[in-house]
């Protein structure tokens, strides 16, 4: 063998071995986590990582106190994600994958992944939805988190052909009693569900019942979640001769007297119409054991909001009419109306009876107190509506609070400060409203701040996405504690640590995903000394 040939052999070997052996890494590594959304649960912050078909739960390690990551696999093609009403679980609906010939990725059925953020580390379980050939992209969770309902969102479905009136009811309970997912096809008069509503538990003639209301553009359907095999009841909103159908804008419920089973009611308002509809669910002989009795009332103006309220004259359907700066109370039994003139054109109302402290503790539920807000002038602020005086002296039933701003949002405060509300405005200030003494504490801020009430109700966080500053306002004392992070923040979440102590997780998301974690001192203030900085959070692997 000549030296030249020998050199060629060695060179060839040198070139061939690396090329033959090199393996590419997962494509996930090259994808920036720009599309990663964050969800706050009770004990964890969950980052959706669709590029890696997983979610990553961030929580404090019980042993080290450091931020720990738990990677939990989801299905492919996540179509929607939502936090459950209790705030402890995240529901991830994935469409799966339909493999074609030669496809390296195997077939995968749609599935619902439930991430439990109340455990440490976070856990998950999957519910197989193989009864679906195509994914449904709408997901609604009932307030008790006993059921999930899948439906086709209008215009957003990726399926080739979808029956928009097909629902899949998923029993979220565990154990042997859990029922398999069940498909229900609603009878349609041409419409399709636009939203799903879960009323509170209603005492119906057939017993306490969890209903599902499927609201469409021309009717709504009542379906028993306890037994979906019972025939649904569809309420058409126009008679058969009508050319157009009124479009429902709001549907409200009232269980009536807890000792009665024939007085549950549903109230409906319509887009652009001055009429409201009330339905009483009365005993009937059909399989459901009830049937709706319908009343329609003209309230003289287009209502912007409706609610069932208890007045000194009995149950009424309250309707706000900002065009006339008034409210109209409808007696659902007689359909008689009474008008209350308001000091401003309020467009929204919230019932604050339990927090306003008008009834002594332990006393039977008395007349309601409503908070009126979202007026069209800055002088409107908010007003309390004492419905205990609505029948006799309606003109004396309104009490305004001196807030010179248009209140565009009312946030509930849970836990220890449940008598407070946080009011956001269209100007550079927000307010802490004390329902018990009806005072409002103004807090000045930059325009456009985002407010977030802590799960414990101890404080409200104010921050500006993309900014460096954040502030905690102690809701009990009004004391403000300002913090600053080193790089622009995207969102923040207060979670419960291993010992239940609060922990603040500030997410920073330009480039990769970073986090700054703060603990709290004994006074309940954020503790700067406890700050810990974490980077490249979604790079833990293997992916």
């Amino acid at each position: 063998m000549r030296p030249r040939r020998f050199t060629l052999l060695v060179t060839s070997l040198a070139l061939a071995l690396p090329v033959a052996g090199c393996g590419d890494r997962s494509a996930t590594w090259s994808s920036a986590p720009d599309g990663s959304k964050a969800y706050g649960l009770t004990g964890a912050v969950v980052l959706a990582d669709p590029a890696a078909n997983r979610v990553v739960a961030l929580a404090l390690d019980p042993k080290t106190g450091a931020l720990a990551e738990t990677s939990l696999a989801t299905g492919h093609d996540v179509v929607t994600t939502t936090v459950g009403p209790s705030g402890g679980k995240l529901y991830v609906l994935s469409g799966g994958h339909q493999a074609s010939l030669g496809d390296a990725q195997p077939d995968e059925a749609p599935r619902l992944t439930i991430v439990d953020g109340t455990t440490n580390p976070a856990t998950k379980r999957d519910i197989d939805l193989s009864l679906l050939s195509d994914p449904l992209d709408g997901l609604a969770i009932d307030p008790t988190e006993h059921w999930a309902v899948l439906y086709a969102m209008q215009g957003a479905s990726a399926a080739f052909v979808t029956n928009p009136n097909a629902l899949v009811i998923v029993d979220l309970s565990t154990g042997a009693a859990a029922k398999p997912p069940q498909e229900v096809v609603l009878h349609s008069f041409g419409g399709h569900p636009e939203s799903l509503i879960f009323p509170p538990l209603l005492g119906l003639p057939s017993g306490p019942t969890h209903l599902l209301v499927a609201q469409s553009d021309q009717d709504f359907t009542l379906l028993s979640l306890d037994d979906p095999t019972k025939p649904e009841i569809t309420v058409r909103l126009a008679d058969a001769t009508a050319v157009t159908s009124p479009h429902p804008t709001q549907v409200v419920f009232d269980d009536g007297d807890p000792t009665q089973t024939d007085d549950a009611r549903i109230g409906v308002s319509f887009e652009g119409l001055t009429t409201v509809m009330t339905l009483q669910l009365e005993p009937a002989t059909d399989p459901n054991g009830y049937a709706p009795t319908i009343n329609v009332t003209d309230v003289g103006g287009v209502p912007s909001a409706i609610a069932f309220v208890r007045t000194d004259g009995g149950l009424r359907l309250a309707t706000l009419q900002p065009a006339r700066a008034s409210a109209v109370l409808v007696d659902p039994v007689t359909t008689l109306t009474s008008t209350v003139t308001l000091p401003a054109a309020y467009q929204s109302l919230s019932l604050v009876t339990s927090s306003a402290g008008t009834a002594p503790a332990g006393a039977a539920a008395g007349p309601d107190v409503a908070l009126l807000w979202n007026a069209n002038t800055t002088l409107g602020g908010v007003a309390f509506w004492e419905l205990g005086e609505a029948a006799g002296q309606p003109f004396r039933s309104i009490e305004t609070v001196g807030i010179d701003a248009v209140v565009d949002g009312v946030r509930d405060v849970p836990g220890m400060n449940s008598t407070l509300k946080v009011l956001s405005t269209q100007s550079s200030e927000f307010f802490v409203l004390d329902l018990s003494n009806r005072t409002a504490t103004p807090l000045l801020s930059s325009l456009g701040v985002t407010l977030s009430v802590s799960p414990s109700g101890a404080r409200v966080w104010a921050y500006e996405p993309g900014g460096l500053d954040l502030a905690a306002t102690d809701l009990a004392t009004g004391r403000v504690h300002t913090l600053r992070v080193d790089t622009p923040l995207s969102s923040l979440f207060e979670i419960a640590g291993p010992d239940g102590a609060p922990t603040l997780v500030v997410l920073q998301g330009q480039g990769g995903v970073g986090a700054t974690v703060f603990g709290f001192d004994k006074l309940g203030d954020p503790d700067e000394a406890s700050r810990r900085i974490y980077g490249a959070i979604l790079t833990e692997g293997p992916l």
């Binding site: 063998m1 030296p3 020998f6 050199t7 052999l9 060695v10 060179t11 070997l13 040198a14 071995l17 690396p18 052996g21 090199c22 393996g23 590419d24 890494r25 997962s26 996930t28 590594w29 090259s30 994808s31 920036a32 986590p33 720009d34 450091a66 931020l67 990551e69 080193d486 790089t487 920073q508 998301g509 330009q510 480039g511 990769g512 995903v513 970073g514 986090a515 700054t516 974690v517 700050r531 810990r532 900085i533 974490y534 980077g535 490249a536 959070i537 979604l538 790079t539 833990e540 692997g541 293997p542 992916l543």
Partner: protein, 248 residues
């Protein structure tokens, strides 16, 4: 007769040298020297017989390794890791065709990539001892077996702009390489200085290193650095080394 006897003696010495080299791999350099007295007595003078590989040799080149470790994915888009490689050896035992060399090895390299939108890099250096047994069937070519225990030092960093400082970590560990290779002289003639091209391939092993990266904050803020834990990095895998060498 005298010539025939000398050749026979050399043939007998070659297996003995090979056996001695294997013992030195297992038992370490000091023990090999201690135990080699009989073989050395039978070997010829290295200076007189180093016509092939030569007595002194330095080489520089490149090493390409394949790291299939999951911990490497954050620092490279594939499994290849390239390093500069430099070796210096001296022949300590030499026969007609077999010779034994010892020396030192230094290799250094880096890889960079992006990891979920953040710039990432890994540098890895290796400083080791070379034990090499050579077989030279021709004056211009020889094959060799090499064992190289080494000290490895690495530095990994991820520059995530989401936080104020890059994440970094360093580590060091012991490892060992084993390889076989061939070398060929490219300058013609039988001059004292030889120019060689050589290649060897084998497997390098080092213990997997936990990759716990934390922000490189100023010392006053060091206690604020949280730890991001990646998959462990095992700098182990097959490799190929390609070098240019000078012998004397």
């Amino acid at each position: 007769m005298k010539t025939r006897r000398t050749r026979k003696t050399r043939r007998m010495a070659q297996p003995a040298l090979l056996a001695a080299a294997l013992v030195s791999i297992v038992g370490g350099v000091a023990q090999a020297h201690d135990d080699l007295a009989p073989a050395i007595e039978q070997a010829a003078d290295p200076a007189a017989t180093a016509r092939g590989p030569g007595r002194w040799r330095v080489s520089v080149g490149g090493r390409s390794s394949l790291y299939r470790s999951a911990g490497y994915d954050a620092f490279s888009s594939d499994d290849a890791f390239g390093q500069f490689s430099a070796t210096a050896t001296a022949t300590v035992l030499a026969g007609a065709r077999l010779s034994t060399a010892v020396g030192a090895l230094w290799e250094d390299g880096a890889s960079s990539s992006t990891a979920r939108g953040a710039e990432s890099s890994l540098s890895l250096g290796r400083l080791g001892v070379v034990l090499e047994e050579r077989f030279a069937p021709r004056p211009w070519a020889y094959a060799f077996v090499r064992v190289a225990p080494a000290w490895l030092r690495g530095k990994a960093s991820i520059d995530d702009t989401a936080i104020a400082a890059p994440l970094e970590t360093t580590f060091s560990t012991l490892g060992v390489d084993g390889s076989v290779g061939v070398a060929g002289r490219v300058n013609p003639g039988r001059g004292k200085v030889g120019v060689w091209i050589m290649g060897d391939g084998g497997y390098g092993w080092a213990r997997a290193q936990p990759m716990a990266l934390s922000p490189a904050l100023p010392s006053a803020d060091r206690d604020k650095a949280g730890v991001t834990t990646l998959a462990a990095l095992a700098p182990s895998g097959v490799f190929l080394r390609f070098s240019l060498a000078l012998s004397y």
